[in-house]
Every structure is written in structure tokens, then in C-alpha cells.
């Protein structure tokens, strides 16, 4: 398996989501065409009718659909990341540690009963973390080598957990569904390429109340997963990044970690790690988190219930299992 990321898959600590709702159809597929797509639209009135049905997809998918999409996207992240560090010396122990830390944070999130999975990508060049719908979170080996304590790691994991809780990638996915549906409804040959006629018919009908059986049709799953990844590759919107940062600080404090460690890590990155024009600047991210912490402090000691505290927060040292794996990889965060 390739040990090199062919594409920088996401901004540092940036997760996997973006706010853009436009779908850029794959130009390489333009010539492939679809005989069926032409049959979908018999006249202009039909096209208008079918396009309106596409609004049925503007809903959150059920978890089963989210798992299917998330699994397919996660496979792409693992493939791009050069595989998972699973079985080398000391690697199983690191995975146990990472999942223990991650599952503790996720258990306190607003989606505590998802089955969360945390892994280390082999990539030793990019200081990156990624997430995928359904509860998949990955950090690169380079990132793991660059964190200085458990609270910094918790900050990264919490940021990715937040993207999943807030369903940022799901927003991209639903945009992809609507876009595909509209393309098929107007007889766009690209949208229907390689899809069986029955599947095209289901899509232009708005699915089953907006739901699609991705497990039952891998060509549809592949098409939508790859469309979603195209959008995710553009990076998250500024607002989504800042939103995920605030929720990360919230999760850290809930678990007892000092969120200032996450700020410290961000300050060590190059412009917050963002490589996309629509990403917030490092200083904006830091200011956003610090503003949030000020608001939390202002609620402490009041008569009303305060769900968080800034007292007794920790930045525990990394265990030997992790520090032993940090050798041989550049520890800087740039």
C-alpha cells in the first residue's frame, strides 16, 4: 500500500467537511454518457416535476445510510493515508490508547451512543486529522508525533468528533444527493453514468422519503461517496471550523482536559494548519476558543446550573506507548 498521501486530504485539524453546496461534476465522466439518463426525461414538464422531488433529499439520513457513506469515505481516508498503523511493534497498544482517549471524549458528546473508531494513518508527512460520518476519526502518524501531551491529542480528537456530531460532512453528502438527483432529472448523462436504471429511477423520485439504500447499491454508494469527497477536499467553511473548535473545547472541559492545550497546539501550527482559502486563520481560531472559555468562566459560581467548569483541568503526559512511537518522525507541526 502506498505510504504517501497523493493529495492533502484536509487542513491540519480541519476534519472533513465544507459548507459549499455546489457540486462540480467530474469532467472526466462527461464523455461516458448514459443511455438511460436520456430516457429519464421525456419532456420539460417532467424535468421540472422530477427536480422538485429532489428536495426530499434535504433531510438528515438515517444512521444506516450514514454508516454506509462514512465507511466508504473512511476507506478513502485510509487509502490516501497509506494505510493504518495496526500491527507493527507497539502499534496495537497505541490504538488501544487512542481509542480509550477518543471514546471517553465521544461518550460525552451529543452522540454518545455511536460506535466510535479512532485510528492512526501511516502518513508521516502531513500533520493532519480527518473524520468521516458514522464515527470514524483518524490522525496521521506525523500528528501523533507532534503532540506534546494527552490534552493536545484530546483537542485534535475532540475537533474531529465535533465535525461528526455537527454532521458537517453529512451536509456535503445531502448536497451531493440533491445535485445528483437534479442532474438525472434533467437528463444529464454524467449523473446517470454507470448507475442501473432502477437506481436512477429511485434517485429522481427522491428516494424513499429522502433515504437511499446505499448498502444495496454499491455503484450509487461509490458515486455519492466520491462526490462528497470532492467537496470535502475543498475544506471546511470558516464557520464550521470555528464551530468545531468551540465544541472541541467543550468536550475537553467535560472530560477534564485543559482546553488551553489545544490552543497551544494551534499556536504551534502554521496559520492554524489551514491550506484552504475558506479556512479561518490561526489567530481567529485561537481568539474564538479563548472567547468561548471566557463565556464559560462567566457562568461559573452562578446560582443556575453550569454544565462546565474550568477548575481542576489537566494536561496529562503521553504514555510510553505513544512517546515510543514518536521517534523517527519530525515533531514540528508545520
Amino acid at each position: 500500500m502506498s505510504r504517501h498521501l497523493s493529495v492533502i486530504v484536509a487542513a491540519v485539524l480541519g476534519g472533513a467537511s465544507a459548507g459549499c453546496a455546489n457540486i462540480a461534476l467530474n469532467s472526466s465522466a462527461l464523455s461516458s454518457g448514459s443511455a438511460f439518463a436520456g430516457r429519464v426525461m421525456e419532456n420539460g414538464a417532467k424535468a421540472v416535476h422530477d427536480a422538485s422531488k429532489c428536495n426530499a433529499f434535504k433531510v438528515e439520513p438515517a444512521v444506516k445510510e450514514e454508516y454506509a457513506l462514512g465507511g466508504a469515505v473512511a476507506v478513502h481516508w485510509v487509502q490516501r493515508g497509506g494505510g493504518l498503523r495496526l500491527k507493527g511493534s507497539g502499534e496495537p497498544e497505541v490504538n488501544v490508547y487512542l481509542n480509550t482517549v477518543g471514546k471517553n471524549l465521544a461518550a460525552q458528546s451529543e452522540r454518545p451512543t455511536l460506535e466510535w473508531t479512532f485510528g492512526v494513518l501511516a502518513d508521516s508527512k502531513n500533520f493532519t486529522a480527518l473524520s468521516s460520518p458514522g464515527g470514524y476519526v483518524f490522525v496521521t502518524h506525523r500528528l501523533l508525533a507532534g503532540v506534546q501531551n494527552e490534552a493536545e491529542l484530546a483537542g485534535v480528537l475532540s475537533h474531529e468528533i465535533a465535525h461528526i456530531v455537527l454532521k458537517h460532512a453529512i451536509h456535503q453528502y445531502t448536497s451531493s444527493k440533491v445535485s445528483l438527483c437534479k442532474a438525472l432529472a434533467v437528463g444529464n448523462a454524467v449523473g446517470g453514468a454507470l448507475l442501473p436504471p432502477a437506481v436512477v429511477s429511485t434517485v429522481v423520485s427522491g428516494g424513499d422519503h429522502g433515504t437511499l439504500d446505499l448498502d444495496g447499491n454499491t455503484s450509487l454508494l461509490g458515486k455519492l461517496a466520491e462526490k462528497t469527497i470532492d467537496l470535502l477536499d475543498k475544506g471546511n467553511s470558516k464557520d464550521e471550523e470555528l464551530e468545531a473548535d468551540r465544541m472541541a473545547a467543550q468536550l475537553m472541559m467535560s472530560a477534564g482536559y485543559d482546553p488551553r492545550a489545544f490552543v497551544s497546539l494551534l499556536k504551534r501550527t502554521d496559520e492554524g494548519g489551514g491550506v484552504f482559502a475558506n479556512h479561518p486563520k490561526r489567530d481567529d481560531r485561537v481568539e474564538n476558543i479563548e472567547d468561548y472559555l471566557k463565556q464559560v468562566r462567566a457562568t461559573e459560581g452562578k446560582q443556575e446550573f453550569a454544565g462546565l467548569t474550568t477548575q481542576g483541568l489537566k494536561s496529562p503526559p503521553l504514555p510510553h506507548e505513544v512517546t515510543a512511537q514518536q521517534g523517527g518522525v519530525a515533531r514540528d507541526t508545520k
Partner: protein
């Protein structure tokens, strides 16, 4: 456990993390984390009088004056005790969406677990898609399956041990069962670290 369904689909309207809403003594709070323990006294090593799950509601009776990170609550069924501050929230966990009878329906976290929908393994569709792409993709899918198994095997008891060792907040309880010390698992050293 009886399924609790809320019919209808949910439009995409997810909110940003917000500060807690104001709740005064006598008001209701929601349980956030798995195996949230209601303790006999305000200490992580006290016995648990009852163990609650995400989404359950308790009556908040105020902070313990001697240790304001512990809060007096009345659990469903009337049992009283103390819960660690960050186990509680003024807002409920997000409802999960489960497909049933052709509709995506909202269920609370407990019903989500009871439905079996919470059990995740690499989906059949994702696995088949990876096989069809072949090469690194198929291998990546196999690795993901191994990682998922490793993750599934990490239980709340191991998380509780780690939290104790790292001196973090005792939010996730090691056991779903009340009675014996709620942190008996946490007292054992050498967990995940």
C-alpha cells in the same frame, strides 16, 4: 426496552455548541454520558445508588457546598444522590435517526442502542465498494475492519481506569450496574495507559 419513536424526518438544521441554558434548583437536567453514576456521597469512589444512561432526566437539587463539582439530584424512580457536574447537561443528547417503515425516525440514545442500529461495522456496501475498487482500497477496508474490532473491545471499564490514572473527570462509569462502588473498575490500576 421499549422503543421511543418520534415520527417524521429532520431537516438539516444543526446548531452550534452553545452555553448551558439557565436551570435553577428544582429544574430538570439531562444525563450526557454512558453509565452515569448517581453516588451515595460526592466522591468518585462512593457506591452508586443507580446508574443512568444518556438522555435520562434528573431533578437538579443544587451543587454540593463542600465540593461544587458534585451535584445533588433526584433520579427517575426517586432515588437521590450525587452526580459529577459534567455528566449533566441542560440540553438533551441529539436524537439519532433510524429507518423504519420507509421513514427516518428520531429515537433517543437509549432506544438507539436498543434498536441495534448503534452497532457499527464496516457496512456491507462500503466493503463491497472497496472490493470493486480493488488494490489499496480493498486492503484499507480490511484494515478498517480490524481497527473497528479493536475499538469495539474497549469497554467503559477500561475508559474509567484510564480516567482515574490520568486524573481526569470521572464521567464515564465502568459499570452499568449500581450497588458496589461505582468506580471499582476505576480503582484498578494499569488500564489503557
Amino acid at each position: 426496552m421499549r422503543m421511543r419513536w418520534k415520527a417524521g424526518v429532520v431537516l438539516l438544521a444543526l446548531g452550534a455548541p452553545a452555553l448551558a441554558l439557565a436551570v435553577s434548583p428544582g429544574g430538570s437536567l439531562y444525563v450526557k454520558a454512558k453509565n452515569t453514576r448517581v453516588m451515595k456521597s460526592p466522591s468518585p469512589t462512593a457506591d452508586a445508588v443507580v446508574v443512568l444512561q444518556p438522555g435520562q432526566q434528573v431533578v437538579w437539587n443544587g451543587a454540593e457546598p463542600s465540593n461544587k463539582q458534585w451535584h445533588k439530584v433526584t433520579a427517575p424512580g426517586g432515588k437521590q444522590g450525587f452526580v459529577f457536574q459534567t455528566n449533566l447537561s441542560t440540553t438533551p443528547p441529539r436524537m439519532e435517526l433510524v429507518a423504519k417503515d420507509g421513514n427516518a425516525r428520531q429515537v433517543d440514545p437509549a432506544a438507539f442502542v436498543a434498536s441495534g442500529a448503534a452497532v457499527k461495522a464496516l457496512s456491507p456496501g462500503a466493503e463491497q465498494y472497496s472490493k470493486e475498487k480493488g488494490g489499496d482500497y480493498a486492503q484499507s477496508a480490511e484494515q478498517l475492519k480490524q481497527l473497528e474490532k479493536l475499538a469495539r473491545d474497549i469497554k467503559p471499564a477500561a475508559i474509567a481506569r484510564h480516567v482515574t490514572d490520568a486524573e481526569l473527570f470521572p464521567v464515564v462509569g465502568g459499570s452499568e450496574v449500581a450497588g458496589a462502588s461505582g468506580s471499582s473498575a476505576a480503582k484498578k490500576k494499569g488500564g489503557a495507559r
